[in-house]
């Protein structure tokens, strides 16, 4: 299994020094390089374009204010990604009107199939199935599979236990597989907790 994060962009030498020195043009270059990964991460976790835009905005402001403390021990992209994840999850926690635990009733059995439905899932189907998942489940699934975080890291980021991360991942994967295998039984995104209808 190999995953390459869309954040994994190496910056030209000296660019961060220019940003630290107050060069707005250098900051714009960094912003334009990472804007799409940050925004896409936020959309996938929050499921809301407007909130994702604000999270992106705040993540870059946070990056700017925290840059003096960046020592370069880790790649810049990993550091920025963590800021973006924190910013996004913070917004998720603020959602008081939405449940942070999943509540969907569903048969625990997984439909048998001769081949993995995931292998044949079209992007749009996958997007729809992801959008239909509860916020937290979707976040864990994305952080684990989409960004390559470990359960330990996810537990830290979300302020939960490792077993919580594992159970959310297992349940989310099962639901996703079920939704992709039996689309007519897929949860209805309008009934569930997401704002967004993903692209067709």
């Amino acid at each position: 299994m190999s995953t390459s994060s869309t954040f994994a962009i190496n910056l030209p030498a000296g660019l961060l020094d220019s940003v630290r020195a107050g060069d707005l043009g250098a900051f714009e270059r960094v912003f334009r390089l990472f804007q799409r990964p940050v925004y896409s991460l936020a959309v996938r976790i929050l499921g809301d374009a407007d909130e994702a835009m604000e999270a992106t905005h705040d993540a870059f402001l946070r990056m700017n204010s925290a840059l003096p403390s960046f020592r370069g021990d880790a790649p810049f992209w990993a550091w920025l990604r963590k800021i973006a994840v924190n910013e996004t999850l913070m917004r998720l926690r603020r959602r008081s009107s939405r449940p942070l635990t999943d509540s969907m009733d569903m048969d625990d059995s997984t439909p048998s199939s001769g081949h993995s439905p995931l292998e044949h899932a079209q992007s749009a189907e996958l997007e729809r199935a992801m959008a239909a998942l509860p916020d937290v489940t979707r976040s864990v699934l994305w952080l684990y599979h989409g960004e390559g975080y470990t359960h330990d890291e996810i537990a830290q980021l979300m302020g939960r236990t490792v077993s919580f991360s594992k159970s959310q991942l297992a349940r989310g994967t099962q639901r996703l597989r079920f939704a992709l295998t039996e689309p007519e039984h897929a949860p209805n995104p309008t009934r569930e907790n997401c704002h967004v209808s993903y692209a067709n």
Binding site: L24, S40, H57
Partner: protein
């Protein structure tokens, strides 16, 4: 720091789940990125300038989304739908160009997309040679320079634009045309600010430069193919 999942996560993955888990990782990792709103940098710059640069933790809270009006909610689906409409328009414009038909795509009805940008006077690329922005200052001077550069590159494009000989080139060309149409759409917004226009013109120049590079690449490939044929003969 997080690293890629392969080794570190092997211990925490059930062996029986690996094939499905791997294909899900692959499927999720290859999902396309979303296109963020085009005014993201303008908003961020406004916040930074308002709060000073480099900003500090203390002014972070005060600089959040200031300087520009709140944008209406727009779901990624609606963004994608808008892009699809623009892609169709772009494809029609390109087809018209290739067929030698005068391009009258601008007579199409306005696209049902709220750009979320506000303020005075807009100048479209076609008007650029005749109408200059009414506002003054260095910003306008810079915009005028960009307009001139845009016109120069556009004229060069007629000689070197990619001919779409292969599907890859055509797809890239269409994507670039799509983005240019989007920028032209935003430039036509009568409420676009001088600062917004300057950024949009800058992006237009960059896109034209990319299209020229694509045309040059196409020419090089054609020349290489011709040379190969000669050697073979």
């Amino acid at each position: 720091m997080s690293v890629m999942p392969t080794d570190r996560r092997a211990a925490e993955t059930n062996v029986h789940d690996l094939p499905a888990s791997a294909s899900l990782s692959h499927a999720l990792a290859t999902l396309p990125l979303f296109d963020p709103p085009s005014d993201g940098w303008l908003r961020l710059r406004a916040s930074i300038e308002k709060g000073g640069f480099p900003s500090t933790q203390s002014n972070h809270a005060n600089t959040r989304l200031t300087g520009l009006p709140p944008r209406p909610w727009r779901s990624p689906w609606r963004v994608q739908r808008g892009h699809r409409l623009l892609a169709v328009a772009a494809a029609l414009a390109l087809a018209a160009l290739l067929l030698g038909v005068p391009d009258d795509w601008k007579s199409l009805p306005a696209l049902p997309i709220n750009t979320g940008l506000v303020s005075p006077v807009g100048t479209t690329p076609d008007e650029a040679e005749h109408v200059l922005p009414s506002a003054t200052s260095d910003e306008n001077s810079q915009t005028e320079t960009l307009m001139a550069e845009s016109a120069r590159l556009q004229s060069l494009l007629g000689f070197t634009a990619a001919s779409g000989r292969d599907a890859e080139t055509l797809a890239i060309e269409l994507a670039l045309v799509d983005r240019m149409q989007w920028i032209d759409y935003l430039l036509a917004d009568p409420n676009a600010t001088a600062a917004t226009r300057e950024v949009l013109w800058q992006q237009r120049v960059e896109l034209l430069t990319q299209r020229l590079a694509l045309g040059q690449r196409d020419s090089l490939i054609a020349a290489s193919d011709a040379a190969t044929r000669e050697v073979t003969l």
